[in-house]
């Protein structure tokens, strides 16, 4: 019931926001923050219990027939992995709501905002594939409507929301086809027609069929992450609206979650075969996006490509099938969202003060706005992966785990670390230091901005030095998934990488 309650709170608040806006313009925001905090509280309280549970059969499960004729259930479930991301989503949700104080048409905004969040939260809860798809679609539409309404007036590219929808819908369609194919194959094999994840995991698939169906799923997730070459929607989205950034930070997590929750457990052998391709995509993503981030002058574009480059690490880490790199992936999802989110927030703050996103159009901010610049520096350091901040833990674990599988991939990915230093310090170089060049009057960060940035920085610092909470919340899930996936019988022991060692660069070892 607890999961249903969380969802219901969000949906209820969505409706109340829409209605309440007629009474007073501040009511929608108030209701949203309140609802999000309530949901956040509920999710956090149940965190400790969820850690030990097995997804699909937990004590929180809420399971009722949904489309009975098709065997689809409204089945919500949550283990440590789910709850970690639900908590994180709601947390970013609160920050996003706090940021949007002076938005026009608040009823419209918060209605879609909460709908979007409930869609994302739903994805992390769905234990039924049709329900998963339902939530998947549910999060895309509000995002689209938000983008149409709140894109900037000076944004020349009117195609941006369309581009977003096109990318995500086409790939979503592929996933739906995959789900249906799995549904019928499983039905024919067992004569139980069900969309239940735990049922479908029992399906016996011949390798070619598995590869074929998996491709549908993986494409949807890769587009959402996004990786090169399916990334085009993301820089466009970042440019369309400053608010989009915070949504995107949450939105893209669903892609990695999908791979970890669905693609790998449903198609273990096919995933192993896909791994070399995934590694190649990951390397390309890290380097390609890193290079563009270095050459961009628009701070939003840098944030977008930096985020894409971080995604490359996620995809490498996922397909390294190693416990270290999987924990690294979890850290990367959180740390990158905070780091890039922070950068985008600062970019937005910069725009509101100077009227430009161009980092070559302003310089020497330090002499006028030292707090702003101080945060800017820390965020840049986070993005380049300085030890002590959460982003380093992510990159270290991913690369340490990947190294056990493929040395070449690790070395190529490590080049990305050097490139990250180059583009992150370039921002510092252009914006914060040098002789002051900018508007005559320049205000430092407001109290609210300071508080939000401090929250993000403290979080990066705490998670960078004390990793136990995150590791503990997902270690059971990850170990189970890894064993499930491992085609070798021996248990997972460090040093003796029991997972799938043979498939990438066997000649190296």
């Amino acid at each position: 019931m607890i999961l249903l309650t969380i969802l219901s709170i969000l949906l209820l608040c969505a409706i109340l926001s829409a209605l309440g806006s007629k009474l007073h313009s501040q009511i929608p925001r108030f209701i949203s923050v309140l609802g999000l905090l309530l949901a956040l509280g509920l999710a956090s309280v149940n965190f400790p219990t969820a850690i030990t549970e097995i997804f699909g059969s937990t004590s929180f499960d809420y399971n009722v027939p949904w489309i009975a004729v098709a065997g689809a259930n409204f089945h919500l479930s949550a283990d440590g992995l789910s709850l970690l991301f639900i908590v994180f989503t709601l947390f970013l949700g609160v920050i996003g709501a706090l940021l949007t104080s002076k938005i026009s048409n608040p009823g419209y905004f918060f209605f879609h905002y909460l709908l979007l969040l409930s869609g994302i939260v739903g994805i992390f809860m769905a234990a039924d594939l049709l329900l998963f798809f339902f939530f998947w679609e549910m999060m895309l539409l509000p995002m689209y409507f938000l983008m149409i309404k709140y894109r900037e007036l000076n944004d020349q590219n009117e195609n941006t929301p369309f581009k977003f929808l096109l990318y995500t819908q086409v790939s979503g369609l592929l996933m739906l086809l995959g789900i249906l194919a799995l549904f019928f194959i499983h039905g024919r094999q067992t004569s139980i027609y069900s969309f239940e994840l735990s049922d479908l995991m029992q399906t016996t698939l011949s390798l070619p069929v598995a590869i074929f169906i998996m491709t549908g799923f993986v494409l949807a997730f890769l587009v959402k992450l996004p990786v090169i070459p399916f990334h085009g929607w993301m820089p466009a989205t970042f440019s369309a609206s400053p608010l989009a950034v915070i949504f995107t930070g949450i939105l893209v997590k669903t892609g990695a979650y999908g791979i970890l929750r669905l693609a790998i457990p449903l198609f273990p052998e096919a995933s192993v075969l896909f791994a070399p391709t995934a590694m190649a995509i990951g390397i390309m993503t890290i380097l390609y996006a890193g290079l563009i981030a270095f050459s961009s002058n628009d701070i939003r574009k840098i944030a977008a490509y930096s985020s894409i480059s971080h995604t490359g690490f996620i995809i490498i880490g996922l397909y390294a099938f190693n416990i270290l790199s999987w924990h690294g992936v979890i850290f990367q999802m959180i740390a990158s969202a905070i780091g890039v989110g922070g950068l985008a927030l600062l970019g937005d703050a910069l725009y509101r003060r100077t009227g430009t996103y161009d980092i070559t159009g302003i310089s020497g901010l330090w002499s006028r706005a030292s707090v702003f610049s101080g945060f800017g520096l820390v965020i840049s350091l986070a993005i380049l992966g300085l030890p002590g901040l959460a982003n380093f833990i992510a990159e270290f674990l991913i690369l340490a785990g990947t190294f056990q599988q493929s040395i070449v991939v690790t070395i190529l990915a490590s080049i990305g670390i050097v490139i990250a230093a180059a583009y992150a310090l370039r921002i510092v170089q252009k914006v914060y230091v040098g002789e002051y060049r900018g508007p005559v009057e320049l205000k430092d960060l407001s109290l609210r901005e300071k508080m939000i940035m401090s929250t993000l920085v403290v979080l990066l610092l705490v998670l960078g030095l004390y990793t136990r909470p995150i590791i503990r919340s997902t270690e059971k899930v990850l170990e189970r998934t890894l064993i499930l996936d491992s085609s070798q019988p021996e248990p997972l022991a460090p040093g003796n990488d029991a997972s799938v060692k043979y498939f990438v660069n066997p000649q190296i070892d």
Partner: protein
């Protein structure tokens, strides 16, 4: 009793926190007291700990704060540990560091950003202590990157001039290339040992890597990659001369006494791995020898006093690498200590000169200063005598002499390494006294407008005493039986293995001593008897620019990178998709006549889905 040794780095970190958060509201006096006080407290605690170490050099203190990363049986904990090697580094970092902080209170007084300066300096000391106290290599890496960050921040401290920031960024990125090699080395160690715990790795090195010596070589070379980056050795030495853009105390603390020797520490700390691979040892020795020679020659052609000292630092660290490479571990560390004293002294004294001459760094515009600034001159001279390794009256003689001797006498040494080290010693005394004569003698060219106060001169005097006295704790074997320093380190670092048959050490010492005296005499001929004039020619320009490594790297790496990055700044893949998207949109617009508005794609996809669903159901 378990000593709370985590306090050592925690105190400077606390100083940093206070200054970073509240620095704006504090007076300069309080800022300086916090900045100096936090390091001084650490130093006092280090002295207190040191008492126990002096009577029991094999003592080993350890303190684990918490598990940093713990996954399955992988455990990377935040562990601090102190043995005699670490103790030596802690004394130097907090002691010399404290003196430099003290000096800075006056040096930085007129500059903008007083609290920012002390905050960064405190942060640096905290990270540097973390680095040398790390109980496992991941914590070492934390300190390693942390000091790199502080170096970056402090090189670019005068942030208004973009040139300083370019120098800072160059330093960070060049060292990061080395750091990445180090990181990959750590991954390899994780794979081979399943841990990064330094003590475990040292104990099991023989057992794990002994059977696979090529693996030992690869690990060593990767660690060496990190070391050459941080310690500005070939081929990553290019960042250090530009790092002189930072204030002089920064150059003294970070780019002479402590951070740049982190590479020496790393190799000494992991000597168990290096010792397994003769090839890696040889590489370390050769890198050291080449660097010391190349940098010394460059130092001879500089006109900026700080750049002379920068090249001299690169060259002196080259000597330390040479010592490490021939297995003379404690000789390398001894030279680190003496070098920290005299090079910090030289930088601080040079800083006093620069300040007195209104930020003039060109030696050829100085001259005749020995009468005007007697204390600074005297201390600078004492530091220079050590750098030039003048026999018996300087600490540098004892530390450098033993390295030069071992370059031949160690079983890994040979005549070539010895010759390079000896020629280096000759050039060193030549460039040192060129600097002395041009700066302090001859005609006065610029009037001094500031006389350094006690806050600046007292640290200089203390360092001058340390420089000279420090040498006497470790005397050459053929002169006396007084080897306190290597005795102190003997529980941590193995003794150097010598060749079986050796010529008398005295002959070698005599040659080196004569050459260094000849260097001084030559400098006297060139730069004191005749008025020195700065001349340029293509050859001089080549050495002035540090053998044009910068130009080479610019062509080889920087330009291709920028080119590659710019060529695709508009993201070609995205453009292809946009083009396809545009075509689809045209088709979409046609369909849109029959569908209502913007949710058409959603509807289309749902409808197609439903059709398939129904078809499948009918089929089964």
């Amino acid at each position: 009793m378990i000593q709370p040794i985590w306090l050592l780095p925690a105190l400077p970190f606390l100083g940093f926190m206070i200054l970073a958060l509240a620095g704006k509201f504090l007076s300069k006096k309080i800022i300086a007291s916090i900045g100096i006080g936090s390091v001084a407290l650490s130093f006092l605690y280090a002295i207190f700990l040191g008492k126990a170490f002096l009577s029991h050099p094999d003592l080993h203190l350890q303190f684990t704060l918490w598990d940093w990363i713990q996954i399955g049986t992988f455990n990377f904990s935040l562990t601090f540990s102190i043995d005699s090697l670490t103790m030596v580094f802690i004394w130097v970092i907090t002691g010399v560091g404290g003196l430099i902080h003290w000096y800075s209170a006056e040096y930085m007084e007129k500059e903008e950003g007083y609290s920012r300066f002390f905050a960064y300096m405190n942060l640096f000391v905290g990270f540097m202590l973390t680095l040398v106290m790390a109980g496992n290599l991941l914590v070492l890496y934390l300190g390693w990157e942390g000091v790199g960050l502080c170096s970056y921040l402090l090189i670019g401290f005068f942030y208004r001039d973009p040139a300083n920031n370019y120098a800072a960024r160059k330093a960070f990125i060049v060292t990061r290339i080395g750091d990445t090699a180090l990181l990959i080395g750590l991954f390899l160690l994780i794979r081979e040992f399943g841990t990064l715990d330094i003590a475990t790795i040292a104990n099991q090195a023989n057992q794990v890597l002994g059977i696979n010596l090529s693996m030992a070589t690869i690990v060593s070379l990767l660690l060496l990659g990190g070391a050459v980056g941080k310690s500005a050795q070939l081929p990553l030495q290019v960042w250090l001369p530009d790092a002189m853009a930072g204030p002089s105390p920064v150059s003294a603390l970070i780019h002479a006494a402590t951070m740049v020797t982190a590479g020496v520490y790393l190799i000494a700390r992991t000597h168990a791995i290096f010792a397994l691979s003769p090839f890696a040892m040889q590489t370390v020795a050769i890198i050291g020898a080449l660097t010391l020679l190349i940098a010394a020659i460059s130092a001879l052609f500089q006109y900026d006093i700080k750049r002379v000292l920068a090249y001299s630092t690169i060259s002196q660290i080259g000597y330390m690498f040479l010592a490490l490479g021939v297995g003379a571990w404690s000789a390398a560390i001894f030279h680190f200590v003496i070098h920290a004293f005299f090079k910090a002294l030289l930088f601080l004294a040079a800083g006093a000169v620069i300040m007195a001459l209104h930020h003039e760094q060109n030696m050829f515009k100085m001259g005749g200063l020995y009468k005007k600034m007697p204390v600074v001159f005297a201390t600078f001279l004492i530091g220079s005598l050590s750098l030039a390794a003048l026999p018996f009256i300087s600490g540098g003689f004892f530390s450098k002499d033993s390295i030069i001797w071992y370059a031949y006498a160690s079983e890994n040494g040979n005549l070539l390494l010895w010759s390079i080290a000896t020629i280096g010693a000759f050039i060193t005394s030549l460039y040192t006294f060129r600097m002395i004569f041009i700066t302090f003698f001859g005609n006065e060219k610029t009037h001094i407008h500031y006389t350094p106060g006690k806050t600046m001169t007292v640290p200089l005097i203390i360092l001058a005493v340390l420089t000279t006295a420090g040498g006497y704790i470790e005397l050459p074997h053929n002169l006396a039986h007084l080897q306190l320093f290597s005795g102190f380190l003997s529980s941590t670092l193995p003794q150097v293995t010598l060749k079986n048959v050796l010529p008398p050490e005295g002959v070698f010492q005599l040659i080196v001593a004569l050459l260094s005296l000849m260097g001084i005499w030559l400098a006297y001929q060139f730069y004191l008897k005749t008025e020195p004039v700065y001349k340029t020619s293509p050859t001089r320009q080549f050495f002035l620019n540090g053998w044009n490594f910068d130009k080479l790297y610019e062509k080889l790496f920087v330009r291709p990178f920028v080119w590659l990055s710019n060529i695709n700044s508009s993201d070609a893949i995205d453009e292809v998709f946009d083009f396809v998207g545009l075509q689809i949109k045209r088709i979409g617009n046609a369909i849109a006549i029959t569908l209502n508005g913007q949710i058409r794609w959603y509807l289309t996809s749902m409808i197609i889905g439903l059709i398939i669903l129904i078809l499948f159901m009918m089929w089964t």
